[in-house]
């Protein structure tokens, strides 16, 4: 008996020691600043280095597009304030090396880009970079509201659709999200505009109403960020914030309806997969309520693919922004790009493309880094 007991304890000790060691290892790998830091730092550095060829490629692509124009057409982007006399063009071609071999041209073009000189926009009568930077806060404001709303609603609808698989709720959700995906953005925007701005006269098009616009332009209002909802709070002028929010409602609804299908579709299929996994069945077998199984066990695991979608979602948003901002006369990046395109403002459109390309590459880097933090499997390698 004693021997047996001792034997049993001995075995149990081994098991426990071993388990503790493993636990200790696991804890160490998560919390040890040295190991964690090293691995993340090498990952980030490697990922950042991989970004450089892509960035160079992005500039090469835009440069290749500029090469489709004749030197005379390209010279037009250097005309800013000067009087437009015919003898100006040959001089510009000479001073800016527009007739030289391609690699020399690329060198000069690249050095101008690195100095922030993207040419002069004939649409906005400003240097391209200046007009882009001027328009950026408006787009950030729009996307800042549209992306979280799209994700939250999309995840909710996707979960509901998966939980009620093959019922009328599922069919309705999928059908509605496919309808949103198929709607031409401009028509949705125009019809909302005609109803709410034209007929009901809720608010005017643009970012702010006339009175608020004048106040924002006056000296008693400081533009800290250029994002009016935030600036209104910082200045203690809540009526500006409220007015900006009112003007945001319809553009945000437009963007959300068009983009939500993507999230719903991915969330539904990843939720269906999670609901069929062993841990969900175990949770049900333990007798947990349906809500707990869905919310705590299945949904958390199903959320991981959504993080990878954020790049595609951001691309969709930027595409949607071009049309939405144009329709609602909302003075952001998309509005600038669309109007530059309509007026064949070549430096404007190419500068905008280069700008979005670079912002995108950097954003994707950030997404990858955040993804590593989110997914423990990636973090522990």
């Amino acid at each position: 008996m004693l021997f047996r007991k001792g034997n049993w304890n001995f075995v149990r000790n081994i098991v426990f020691v071993d388990k503790n060691r493993q636990k200790y290892k696991l804890v160490a790998s998560i919390f040890s600043p040295r190991r964690m830091g090293m691995r993340l730092r090498t990952f980030i550095i490697r990922r950042a280095l991989l970004m450089i060829p892509t960035l160079i490629g992005v500039t090469l692509l835009i440069f290749a597009i500029t090469q489709m124009f004749t030197p005379e057409q390209r010279a037009a982007s250097f005309l800013s304030g000067e009087p437009r006399r015919p003898d100006v063009i040959p001089r510009i071609i000479q001073t800016h090396h527009l007739d030289d071999p391609i690699y020399i041209q690329y060198y000069h073009w690249m050095s101008r880009v690195l100095q922030g000189d993207l040419g002069f926009s004939s649409y906005s009568h400003l240097p391209v970079l200046a007009s882009l930077l001027q328009a950026t806060p408006a787009t950030i404001e729009l996307v800042m509201f549209a992306i979280p709303i799209t994700i939250i609603m999309g995840v909710y609808l996707g979960v509901v659709s998966a939980v009620h698989r093959d019922t009328i709720i599922d069919h309705a959700t999928r059908f509605l999200s496919i309808i949103g995906w198929s709607l031409p953005t401009f028509w949705l925007a125009l019809i909302l505009l005609a109803i709410f701005y034209g007929q009901l006269n809720w608010v005017s098009a643009g970012r702010l109403s006339f009175e608020q616009m004048r106040f924002v332009a006056s000296e008693s209002f400081t533009k800290y960020t250029g994002i009016y909802t935030i600036d209104g709070i910082l200045n203690g002028q809540l009526w500006i914030t409220l007015d900006a929010l009112k003007h945001l409602i319809l553009p945000v609804i437009t963007l959300t309806i068009v983009q939500i299908a993507l999230i719903v579709r991915v969330m539904r299929s990843s939720m269906l997969e999670a609901l069929g996994k062993g841990y969900t069945i175990l949770a049900r077998a333990k007798g947990l309520s349906d809500d707990q199984v869905v919310n705590k066990h299945a949904r958390r695991n199903a959320l991981i693919p959504i993080a990878t979608l954020s790049g595609i979602l951001a691309a969709g948003m930027l595409t949607g922004v071009v049309i939405t901002e144009t329709c609602f006369n909302y003075m952001g990046l998309g509005h600038f790009a669309a109007n530059a395109a309509m007026q064949l403002d070549i430096p404007g459109v190419l500068g905008f493309s280069l700008f979005t390309g670079i912002v995108f590459v950097i954003a994707n880097l950030l997404v990858d880094i955040i993804y590593v933090f989110l997914d423990p499997r990636m973090r522990l390698g």
Partner: protein, 306 residues
């Protein structure tokens, strides 16, 4: 081969076909999608009957005057007219052919390029693969519409240049997906077996790998036709399309862009001018999306029997 033997050999194919038709019948969404697409195919085929073609060029919309104000539906123009009196009914009917041309031409070209480069890159790997991946990274750095916009600006306005731009923007995606599928199938035992039997690389790729890799790509293509038509319409709306007289749905909307909210007191005076062509765009894209979405579940051999 006599008839009974032929029947015997065809039996599994017929059984699968029956199963597929049964699945389609049970899925209401795919029936709606197929119905919509059938309608559009009929409209495209019967266009000369539905709207007698313009003797100069069938794709140029006839117009009676240069009056800039869109007119509401009337007996002569049952959908009304746009800016400069282009007949919306005529534009919608002949625009169906334009929409099919945009969708098929772009997607088939992109599919062909993708199959060629994607399968070579996936099968052989090496330097082609590396170059392709870096190149797709660069294209992926731009949202599609924005790069297409820049390309159309550089190539010049017009529908042909819109199509070219959409092909240039679209092919890397297909290459990447096809490459991934080829790399997955390449490791299967039957490919090894085919190689061991002395099949040439060409035969291995065309007869053994591609038939097993093609389903996800075909489904992607059918979903893509809709989004290509949408993007082309968006570019037309931005004024980069074919010019005001060409029968193209996006162009019809663009024609009336300056007449959106109507005049004071009657805000919906011109609503027909952008709504009717938009409904055509919307239902066309919806049809392709419904069919693609339903066929994803039905045709994919790995999940169809679940």
């Amino acid at each position: 081969m006599d008839v009974t033997e032929f029947k015997k050999s065809m039996a599994p194919t017929i059984k699968e076909l029956k199963f597929t038709i049964g699945r389609i019948k049970r899925s209401p969404l795919s029936i709606i999608g197929v119905a919509i697409l059938t309608f559009y195919v009929l409209v495209a085929l019967l266009a000369p009957v539905l709207a007698p073609p313009n003797p100069r060029d069938a794709y140029i919309m006839p117009h009676s005057s240069w009056d800039p104000i869109p007119r509401p539906p009337s007996p002569e123009h049952i959908f009304g007219t746009t800016y400069q009196q282009y007949d919306i009914y005529y534009g919608c009917i002949w625009g169906t052919r334009t929409a099919f041309r945009i969708g098929f031409l772009v997607v088939l070209t992109v599919l062909a390029i993708g199959l060629l480069i994607g399968s070579i890159s996936g099968y052989y790997g090496g330097i082609i693969d590396e170059l392709l991946m870096r190149f797709t990274d660069i294209i992926y750095a731009f949202p599609g519409l924005i790069l297409a916009m820049a390309l159309v600006i550089a190539l010049g306005r017009g529908l042909d240049n819109v199509l070219l731009a959409l092909v240039l923007v679209g092919w890397p995606t297909y290459c990447r997906v096809i490459r991934g599928e080829v790399m997955r199938v390449k490791q299967e035992d039957y490919v090894e077996a085919a190689k061991a039997m002395g099949c040439s690389d060409f035969r291995v790729i065309v007869r053994h790998i591609l038939p097993n890799a093609i389903y996800p790509i075909l489904i992607m293509a059918s979903l893509n036709i809709g989004s290509v038509v949408l993007t082309a319409a968006a570019l037309s709306f931005l004024g980069l399309g074919s010019g005001p007289s060409y029968a193209d749905w996006g162009q019809l909307v663009a024609n009336s862009r300056d007449y959106i909210t109507g005049n004071y007191g009657n805000m919906f005076a011109y609503v027909h001018a952008f709504t009717i062509p938009s409904i055509f765009i919307f239902t066309f894209v919806l049809g392709w999306n419904l069919v693609g979405d339903a066929f994803r579940d039905i045709l994919d051999p790995t999940i169809r029997r679940r």
